[in-house]
Symmetry: C2
Subunit: 161 residues, 2 copies
DNA sequence: TTGCAATAATTGCGATTGAAACTATATAGT
DNA sequence: ACTATATAGTTTCAATCGCAATTATTGCAA
């Protein structure tokens, strides 16, 4: 393999490797989520997952979804969703209802308190996203970021099945 | 407020809002991390945090760092780091040493088993990052993503102090 | 030198997570 | 109809997390 060196740089400055975006991606995620959840907590509001569940349910036909559908739509594992819905039910934001025709199943249904809470969370969450995320991106960058994330999601999902 | 409508679209198709990149960012993170940690687990290797700690320590002068420095460099809260180092110490990958001149302090020091483990993890982690992340980005996109994440980190940190 | 705020690290505790096991019901193949 | 297999949802258990409180030490200022 002698001679296979690409552009030997004897004694020259170190080659500039393109820095990997991966570690920055991890750090940005952790810090943004930590900061935004801190802001929610400071206002006595629950965590992001609660908002996600409420958001998904509000858009669902009849504002209700089977547990497994909600699990998939909200990207929360089955067992975590069971417990999350337990807590949210205890807080009166959702209710469970039986499914006619499939006695294994359960619906998670949005309550009106849940609808209100969704708004209340958004009043803090929305501006927080704006302040810490959207605000610092050009429309161009937002679009690129969106595309990239979508592609990564698509690929990683494809690699499982 | 009558007349304040911007571009009324009576009966036309819904307006195209630019989709927010935020939810995709959250989902991409969760799915990528879940998938990559699954691959690590499948080979009997520990989670990403362990790698981060080993990586940071290896680059530190004398392969050791004060707990609070390591905490900052690895972006792990103080209390979580204490317990993470407990586990890693139990596994023989790092050791704690007293600090001369400050009896409150402790160093976390990389052991040779830790150095080996870092390599072993990287042999799976590196390719996994490539497979699920880097591989799907053009060099251009990687650079953009890196810049954006760096900027977001910078801004969110500035907003705390 | 004494007292008081700041710093380093750890710990306690309740909440949340992940993975595997479990229960109940539904569906398919024979 | 009968067994096997798949699906829905929950539960268990151990591991991890976030936060506030705690312990020990240091540095500073009166």
């Amino acid at each position: 393999m002698a001679g296979s060196n690409q552009r030997a740089r004897r004694g020259g400055p170190k080659r500039n490797r393109t820095p990997s975006a991966w570690p920055m991606f991890l750090i940005a995620h952790d810090e943004l989520v930590a900061r935004i959840e801190e802001q929610l907590r400071n206002k006595g509001l629950p965590e992001i997952n609660w908002y996600t569940v409420l958001w998904v349910l509000e858009r669902a036909p009849d504002e209700r979804l089977r547990m497994h559908e909600l699990s998939e739509a909200a990207v929360i594992t089955r067992s975590n969703l069971t417990r999350l819905v337990d807590r949210m039910e205890k807080a009166g934001l959702v209710s469970r209802e039986r499914v006619s025709g499939d006695r294994r199943g359960a619906y998670a249904c949005l309550t009106s308190a849940g609808r209100d809470m969704k708004t209340e969370i958004w009043n803090v969450y929305g501006p927080a996203i704006q302040e810490h995320f959207t605000r610092h991106l050009s429309p161009q960058e937002s679009a690129t970021l969106h595309d990239i994330m979508l592609r990564l999601i698509d690929k990683v999902r494809g690699s499982r099945s």
